[in-house]
Symmetry: C2
Subunit: 706 residues, 2 copies
Amino acid sequence: MQWVKGLGLGLGAAVLLALGIILGHFAIPKNAPSVSASQDLDLEILETVMGQLDASRIRENLRELSREPHLASSPRDEALVQLLLQRWTDPASGLDSAKAFEYEVLLSFPSQEQPNSVDVVGSAGDVLYSCRRSEENLTGEQGGPDVVPPYAAYAPAGTPQGLLVYANQGSEEDFKELQTQGIQLEGTIALTRYGGVGRGAKAVNAAKHGVAGVLVYTDPGDINDGLSLPSETFPNSWHLPPSGVERGSYYEYFGDPLTPYLPAHPSSFRLDLANVSGFPPIPTQPIGFQDAKVLLCQVKVSVHNRLQLRNSSNVLGVIRGAVEPDRYVLYGNHRDSWVHGAVDPSSGTAVLLELSRVLGTLLKKGTWRPRRSIVFASWGAEEFGLIGSTEFTEQFFSKLQERTVAYLNVDISVFANATLRVQGTPPVQSVVFSAAKEIRSPGPGDLSIYDNWMRYFNRSSLVYGVVPSLGSLGAGSDYAPFIHFLGISSMDIAYTYDRSKTSARIYPTYHTAFDTFDYVDKFVDPGFSSHQAVARTAGSVLLRLSDSFFLPLNVSDYSDTLRSFLQAAQQDLGDLLEQHSISLGPLVTAMEKFEEAAAALDQDISTLQKGSPDPLQVRIFNDQLMLLERTFLNPRAFPEERHYSHVLWAPRTGSTATFPGLANACSRARDTSSGSEAWAEVQRQLSIVVAALEGAAATLRPVADL
Amino acid sequence: MQWVKGLGLGLGAAVLLALGIILGHFAIPKNAPSVSASQDLDLEILETVMGQLDASRIRENLRELSREPHLASSPRDEALVQLLLQRWTDPASGLDSAKAFEYEVLLSFPSQEQPNSVDVVGSAGDVLYSCRRSEENLTGEQGGPDVVPPYAAYAPAGTPQGLLVYANQGSEEDFKELQTQGIQLEGTIALTRYGGVGRGAKAVNAAKHGVAGVLVYTDPGDINDGLSLPSETFPNSWHLPPSGVERGSYYEYFGDPLTPYLPAHPSSFRLDLANVSGFPPIPTQPIGFQDAKVLLCQVKVSVHNRLQLRNSSNVLGVIRGAVEPDRYVLYGNHRDSWVHGAVDPSSGTAVLLELSRVLGTLLKKGTWRPRRSIVFASWGAEEFGLIGSTEFTEQFFSKLQERTVAYLNVDISVFANATLRVQGTPPVQSVVFSAAKEIRSPGPGDLSIYDNWMRYFNRSSLVYGVVPSLGSLGAGSDYAPFIHFLGISSMDIAYTYDRSKTSARIYPTYHTAFDTFDYVDKFVDPGFSSHQAVARTAGSVLLRLSDSFFLPLNVSDYSDTLRSFLQAAQQDLGDLLEQHSISLGPLVTAMEKFEEAAAALDQDISTLQKGSPDPLQVRIFNDQLMLLERTFLNPRAFPEERHYSHVLWAPRTGSTATFPGLANACSRARDTSSGSEAWAEVQRQLSIVVAALEGAAATLRPVADL
């Protein structure tokens, strides 16, 4: 029965052939590039990273980083540049490459020969009382030669003398109030307390009333919940000792004051000092509350600050992306401090170093390489006005704007250990939530960081119901040039206070000589579990942004914000605008176009995610997500606001939480008649926002649509 | 011998299995997207397109387009909007989609009730002679109601009267010369000829000397090679008849005058007329040389132009890209003319329609779809100041800047039929050369368009030896907002004169009522072979840009230009700068960095081209090429030059062919002392160029390099 045999053989052959075909097609991987081109987030890697982020290593980092004062451009600051380079080029745990970028920037320091002083003098000029010229050396760390005496950076030198006038927070209102009380301000010394308005603004407001000098002190009510006795303060508690003085930059803008919009290279054009704006107009000096409370009558303020051109470096470390090396996820913090800066900024740098160590180790072992490039940054001279980060954005403007997916800032990583606190633009909300849900909170109870966060800060979203609330980004740290000047989706991550337990304006030893390692170790985060929680949250966000096939940026989350801006405009400004026959109709229409386009894009993406999408298709969608934030930039919107080009997040005066250009223009126009320039500016600002929303919608619509 | 049988079977099985594996791996194609993702230029398709571009169809297009006058916003202009929409939505030869975008823009027209007039008057105001108010109706086409009388668009109304003064071309020098000759200019009427300076500039310069009104005529020496008799001019030759008058816009900037930087939507903010700049300050009227030569003594100029808000549309047609739909190749021309506009702009639109027909037909047949999206544009109101194209760039600023590969402009496609003439930025040189080498020149001999071109315009390149020379882009047509405002690599393609045969400033009937179909058919391009040559060249460039896997933009060709700019600066400005201790050293260094990065990128690309590169890798390189031009933009470089942000191609005063910001700042600083603001501006401009070149180099370097 040959044929049966034959059939049998034929069958066997067919089976073998089929098996072969199956093996051939599935068992042999598709060509390397096109497979790796679909590389996606690996949850095992993520778990490994979370597990390896080590609190005790963060603690050791912090001890080393805060061992000595490291004021910008000081020898110790330079030594830390070397420390970072050495860590990031370590054969076992380093990155692909690391490099220092130096700039020549204008900083301000007190004179060593002529210390700044504040004295109470008698009618004959005889000194009745002298304020401390340095903080009390309570732990042996406040006395070193490298502890810069308290001063107001960029305040001009001068020795004004005059009657002391208490001017509260030194706001415009405060001085107006004094004036209406008939108090003579000409030639006086104004005593103000920190808070309310920016540091430099106090001197600007004072000078308008002929005030000759300004003192700024830290009020125990603002910083210590009222406690002021030595026994109640550091080293006996986390509260600020009576002699503690908050240093700070009194410069109004950011970036090197001499090279706006240009990198501060030695060869770059520099403004003549006479043409520099943004410095305080009159001598200003900060003091402690111990001195503030005894001051009276005639006061003489001697300020001998000097401006100096100094070299300051950023250190950048790169992990090259495996698939999309031209897409950057930036993670940064500044390196310079006012004194030891254990909290500000070393608590952030300690986390940065631990995170780069863990990722670097996986990289060197060959177990992992991100889909996109990761760039770690240690910025210089932040305390003087975000100088290092701003110069970086000025130097690499185009490249960064074309390629950066997001900027993640961790400056002070732990203010206090109660809860996570995140500031950011709407597109990063979802990725932060995803990360925070997966990580256990260090506090009591078995809550996720997300659930714990919601207990402290929450809002009810139109879309999601009650969720943790993201704060909005001001200009308080190095994220400012990235969001305001480059239009890059940005965030700032930290652990912070239980507001029911303290009303402190900020952690008490902020910018003082008492911000030391022991302070953190004993009072801020014993055990460093909050530092670890921040490391894990930031690390998870970083990995999700660098490794996910589809970018985890949710552009339709902008709708929430835009809606609330629109509603605020309608409620608070609607009538006023109507009186001047200005309609918000076009804004409503643009808003709807944006929401429609964003929703449709979400839909298209989730459809695509169900299939096995081509990497190029995904890249196209990802570019839409990455570039949305860019569409809100308009370098001509606020010509007078240096570096502020983002039409949604520029500084806003007044209380209406709406589009800043519109809000500011309205408050200026309010008391003018309809035909005025001020009302024309309102209309211009409205058109700018409408054009921005229409442009954003156009970027989100299907890419070949008209 | 069972075992043998067994072995035999085993062997057979192994072979079959192996065969299966081989079949499975190779015979089953890799997943569809990743194959088509490598789609490249198809030379057969290119040949087909070249073959199908039909001169007689271009001729028919031109006949239809120029049948009636179609001044911007006129009923006939609107009818042509419909014609374009109908062509681009044709089921057999249309595009994927087409749409009209309307704007409300400020145009300027003569009054119908009160015609503008120019009269010679006696001392008693009695009229001794009146200039023609319209051109002579020589072919029956110059007399229709739709022929707009000669006027100077945007010149203010007014009826000045005064002594006539001949002021040559109306340049600053011309008026200074008259002044030094002791000629009283106050209250006079200046008679000027076209050429030398821009239209509006003549009135601006005149007004500075108290001149009351300006006349502008076309001199036979400038336009007719000296011929002026009726027998020597149209319809007997291509020369301008004595009654011919060049119309034109006398507006200084581009875009809608009321909505700078904003799309001119009805709801957009509009400047108060009092705040509009860029209009001629005094009444101005163009006349023909027939009148110019008889003018004498007292002249009265009556201008009754009126400004009107009108609706004007762009028409856009899209072919969706198959692989990278988010990458746009733009091809455009304006639609509006002054009268019949057979040459300007219909010769370009006739080519545009033929090219879109041929491509649309292949598309509808399913034989072809480009790799990238192609966007065809018919711009409105170009003659009044590139208004339609500028509003388009203002409306879609971000989207276009993020995604546009290049802009190709074909306005007047044939000035004359001697040679190709291309203006463009360096990155497009290579693709234009590739196209021109493959196409036969219509002229005598069997030359390629490239070789014929080289006979008329050539230069010796440092890199290539003798090559045809690309002109640089001014602001003469709709490419201006794309290159100057958006930083998109752009080009303008046409056929033009044999300069040894004519010195005409431009083709003689430019902007007159004599620019008609018969004029083109008889004198400019009988047989339309030059139109066909332009269609083929532009079509080939368009296909190469839209279909090539690797973008055919050669960024290292920028080195030639930058070198020549640098050398010019060193030769003409070096000593001057040295005297003021300004060094060009940093510019030299930046230049070297750019050249190095560009050369290395070329190398990397050609290496990649040898292998079978992953589409995502290629996209990354292509993005570097596409975005290079963007890195030369700096919106803060020339705050006073509206819409000009490109630091290499902004308007340049003075003769030194170097970086415009540097050249202009130097000519302003020349006669001031070292410490002056003017010299500070020179240094600022130098730093701006250095930063731009460094930024460009950073964009060209390997994408994960620091």
